[in-house]
């Protein structure tokens, strides 16, 4: 049978028998709409939760630990000890498939306190500082220009060899005994014990009292999540208490300087060395930065850990941050990490579980939607059985005019595919419209952290897959009626 003629017959039949298939087509349409809706919602939630809230592309590897009653230990009676986190481990982790970079990370092992913020908040705030150190490669992708940040994201007190003062980075540094050194400074007597940022030091540098030298501020990265939490929760919470805090943007915070006292905080004081105060400057925002707190160059933290907690603490790494650019690679990377004997940090465990949960829920909802489509396809079977029975004589006439059994089979299946196409396209449009309506409704709700502009993310494959599934389901539904129509005895049908 000629395809064009066949398609002509199909469209003619469909235009005549629209009503017979409407109920089934409606079911398929609703099923496809819900399938597309849930896949879009799942992808959207995954994007927001994994990529933005939990930053799934950053997996933090730690040493395996065990819960022993109220304590968490690295091994149980000498068993299950994991390899140390050192340079070799970092290299091994960096070589894993799916990992773009492995960034060593160390936490502050002593108390610290930060004060400042008057320039943007109108008053100074004093708070316990949570901070860690990250290798300079961690500034890749940070807000503020990665190249410039990489240049500035280094320990300002690290020894720097020089032959003349022009080899030194500026701010009044001079070359002394082959090393760059800040200008000597003496703060006014009334400011002793604090950082003096007056005329004694050039540029951005400030006088460090403990060494009597001008030093450039310690660069720090902040997390965009901290900013999100501040803007969505802290602002409204404090504003509700009678004060008004401004909402902040990353660019407003870049350049913010605060004074940090290392070795002393609200929780206690380090016994290893007397506290020191340094000026800290926020140089950028990065997803790799600690979620709440500040992230310094790794060398700064290791130097301070050695000063306040001893040389061994100065060498210790507390984690390795793996940069996994493709979120879909996460399960594979996690498996490789575990095979090396390491574990994931609690946050990364949460990421993995959240990812698994989102995938599971999306899969479940998709299965439910798929079942709706298949149930509708079953009702399609019934509808096509009735239609084929009603058209028994007509189909027999077609056989008499030269149609083979296979032509009749194809004719019925094409009619089903036609219904599936119309239902599928309608379902896709309905699903997209429902998503848009949900987004509009959500936009009118109160803000909350990480609230996205859209809760939906429709991968391109959803559209052809949705249409294909609809056509396939309808064709499957019509398979048995099509076979019955093809096998019907034309002579018997013509004689009735």
């Amino acid at each position: 049978m000629r395809l064009r003629a066949l398609l002509g017959l199909v469209t003619q039949s469909m235009s005549r028998a629209r009503a017979a298939y409407v109920a089934s087509a409606l079911g398929v349409c609703v099923g496809i709409a819900s399938l597309v809706f849930f896949i879009g919602l799942g992808e959207g939630v995954r994007r927001v939760v994994l990529d933005r809230v939990l930053v799934a592309q950053h997996v933090e590897v730690v040493r395996k630990s065990f819960d022993a009653g109220p304590l968490r230990v690295d091994s149980l009676f000498g068993l299950g000890a994991t390899p140390p986190l050192d340079a070799d481990s970092v290299r091994a982790l960096a070589a894993l498939e799916g990992v773009r970079a492995a960034l060593p990370r160390a936490r502050l092992t002593f108390p610290a306190r930060a004060s400042g913020g008057r320039s943007i908040l109108g008053q100074d705030l004093v708070a316990e500082l949570i901070a860690d150190g990250l290798a300079p490669e961690g500034v890749e992708g940070a807000v503020g220009g990665a190249a410039a940040l990489r240049e500035h994201f280094r320990d300002p007190e690290a020894p720097r060899a020089c032959s003349t003062s022009t080899d030194c980075p500026g701010d009044g540094q001079t070359c002394e005994a082959g090393q760059c050194a800040g200008r000597r400074c003496t703060p006014p007597a009334e400011q002793k014990g604090a950082v003096e940022s007056g005329t004694a030091c050039p540029g951005e540098s400030v006088c460090a009292l403990d060494i009597g030298r001008c030093l450039r501020p310690v660069p720090a990265l902040a997390s965009p999540h901290a900013l999100e939490l501040y803007n969505s929760n802290l602002v409204s919470a404090i504003s509700g208490a009678g004060k008004t805090l401004p909402r902040l943007t990353p660019s407003a915070l870049i350049g913010l300087q605060v004074d940090v006292t290392f070795g002393e905080g609200f929780v206690g004081r380090s016994s290893g060395a007397p506290p020191i105060t340094r000026r800290v400057k926020v140089v950028g925002f990065s997803d790799a930065a600690i979620m709440v707190g500040l992230t310094f160059p790794l060398a700064v933290v290791q130097r301070l850990n050695a000063r306040f907690s001893g040389p061994e603490a100065g060498q210790a790494l507390h984690g390795v941050l793996l940069d996994v650019p493709v979120t879909e690679d996460l399960p594979r990377v996690v498996a490789q990490v575990r095979a090396l004997g390491f574990a994931l940090s609690d946050r990364s465990e949460t990421v993995e579980q959240a990812g698994r949960l989102i995938r599971l829920v999306t899969a479940l909802l998709s299965v439910v939607s798929g079942l709706i489509v298949l149930l509708a396809a079953l009702s399609m079977t019934q509808a096509f059985f009735v239609a084929v029975e009603q058209r028994r004589r007509e189909l027999a006439v077609l056989r008499a005019l030269g149609a083979a059994a296979v032509d009749i089979r194809v004719l019925v299946l094409l009619e089903a595919a036609f219904v599936g196409s119309v239902s599928g396209v309608s379902g896709l449009m309905l699903g997209r419209l429902s998503a848009w309506t949900a987004d509009v409704a959500a936009a009118s709700m109160a803000d909350f952290p990480f609230k996205p502009l859209s809760f939906f993310d429709f991968p391109l494959w959803v559209w052809p897959a949705g249409l294909g599934f609809s056509v396939l389901a309808c064709a499957l539904g019509a398979l048995v009626p099509a076979e019955a129509a093809a096998r019907a005895d034309p002579a018997a049908a013509l004689n009735t």
């Binding site: 032509d407 013509l494 004689n495």
Partner: protein, 230 residues
């Protein structure tokens, strides 16, 4: 054109098997105009369906245009029907949702002639409608036509692929006298142009127009008479 050897056909009834045809031997030459008569249940329509390849469950040998139908695949048999055989039914068998032209052109859909365009098919359908005298109804739907007009459309459709054999099952069975006369004259004209006609009928006027009358009773040929033309 048609050769039947020892053709038998049984139907499985509710209680027992019914013999529709019993050892029928028959030959019909090309260009003949044959009327198949007999009481209801004598096996006329069964014979027509077997010759037309619509019924494949029989014993014996059936050849159409020297081709044995039994070993043919369903596809090959369908092709033979499309190219060689035209069917005319008592109740016309028109598709009510298609126009008259579309109905007439329908057999073209089952012919593997890719060269024939839709335009060619419409042209041929119009020519056939003119020939059966109903071109003015080309765009009408079958339910709007009279019985005689519908049967003319059905005959035009049967002629679409220029078949050499026309199998007619009670072509005037649903028509009034005037319409019947018109259809009979049309069939006679076709026969004079070389189309072989095998017509199952109860209508004595149709039988009278035939050049050969075969009478069936209880599935057996009981009379086979050639009418001499004066």
């Amino acid at each position: 054109m048609i050769r039947l050897r020892q053709v038998s056909k049984r139907y499985r009834g509710a209680r027992a098997e019914e013999q529709a045809l019993a050892h029928v031997d028959l030959e019909i030459a090309e260009g003949e105009h044959v009327a198949l008569l007999g009481p209801s249940g004598s096996g006329k329509t069964s014979l027509l369906n077997i010759i037309g390849g619509l019924d494949r469950v029989y014993e014996g040998t059936v050849e159409v245009n020297t081709v044995d139908l039994a070993p043919l695949s369903d596809r090959a048999l369908a092709r033979l029907r499309a190219r060689t055989i035209g069917f005319v039914f008592q109740h016309y068998g028109l598709l009510d949702h298609l126009t008259v032209t579309e109905n007439v052109a329908l057999p073209g859909a089952f012919e593997d002639d890719a060269a024939r365009s839709r335009f060619d098919a419409d042209q041929r359908a119009m020519a056939l409608l003119e020939r059966v005298g109903i071109a003015h109804k080309a765009g009408a739907l079958p339910p709007t036509l009279s019985g005689g007009q519908r049967q003319r459309v059905a005959i035009a459709r049967a002629l679409f692929n220029a078949p050499r054999l026309l199998l007619c099952d009670e072509p005037t069975g649903s028509l009034d006298t005037t319409a019947s006369e018109g259809v009979i004259r049309l069939l006679e004209t076709l026969n004079t142009e070389g189309v072989t006609l095998l017509t199952v009928t109860h209508d004595p006027r149709v039988a009278a127009s035939a050049k050969r009358v075969i009478r069936l009773e209880d599935g057996c040929v009981v009379e086979d008479t050639r009418v001499s033309v004066p």
